[in-house]
Amino acid sequence: MDINLKILRYDPESDRKGHWENYIVDAEPEERILDLLHKIKWFEDGSLSFRRSCAHGVCGSDAMVINGENMLACQVLVKEVGNPIKIEPIRGLPVVKDLIVDMEPFFDSYKKVMPYLINEKEPGDRERLQSPEDRDKFEDTTKCILCAACTTSCPVFWTAETYVGPAAIVNAHRFVFDSRDEGTKQRLEILKDVNGAFRCRTAFNCTSACPRGIQVTKAIEDIKRETLLNS
């Protein structure tokens, strides 16, 4: 089956603006979009650049806009997106080359919410106990692979580049609702900022974009309510 791929290319060494390029690739309906990108890169145009590693949706390297929506290229099959296929880099982060964007601002935001367990108490020489119910409270947000699909699908983030973004809030949620953690106050303090959780306008794009099926908006709402109740 011949698939027509339209890819938004940008080479910083020669282009001033992005431009669309067309490729025709022979593909099976069961193939991943990533496989098609590889076919182009390996056998047609070696300069096409994109990130990838695991090829099965667990490393978070290859979020991109496929037919107008954020997806992981390794997680969608040709038959699910139809023909032609339009591919662009994720939005709101500076494009470095082709489908590669600068992830530094994204990770900076992530680091700002103190994404690590805070607990000064001596834990003893066995594990801390935690009931399965307490463990379930943050199960959803532990799944995050930091792919940025959510943050770069958020209309607020596109215009307000200072917004910390859903991914960072998800990772704050993972600790705020962990019964072993004691850093809730500090994290909520950070998320009270103009660029924090209250920037979210419940557009839900993040939730539909998340390849891990995390209920991102729900997590953000949990954080908003927790902040409200905490002050």
Binding site: K112, T162, K192, T227
Partner: protein, 131 residues
Amino acid sequence: MQTTRTDWGRRQPPVGGTSFELQAWFFMRVSGLALVFLAVWHMFIMHVFNDTLNLDYDFVAARWETSYWRAFDWLLLTLSLLHGTNGLRVVIHDNLPDKTIRKLAHSVLYGTSLIFFIIGTYAIVAFVRQV
């Protein structure tokens, strides 16, 4: 952390601080709820139960005979101005990345809102029937 890339667009992630954003957010919900009664009721009175075609000096004057309606209208004025101003504050913040321009736009917004609040309040308070 190592930062080796260019400084382009280095964002300012949140640093925390005041509860203003939380309060503003909460105020939007509360004032929104109040406005459902005030604004929607106002719209119904003016457009459905009456018709704006019939709106005239006498109609308004009669309404403002009672302090109930003056209070109603003043509350509507105040809350919708506050609600709208805060809404626009966020819209401006979202869309104007440049700090100086944003500051300017915010000042214009707050100034305008204040002037209109004064005009509106003055009208409601100072109105006396002339004929």
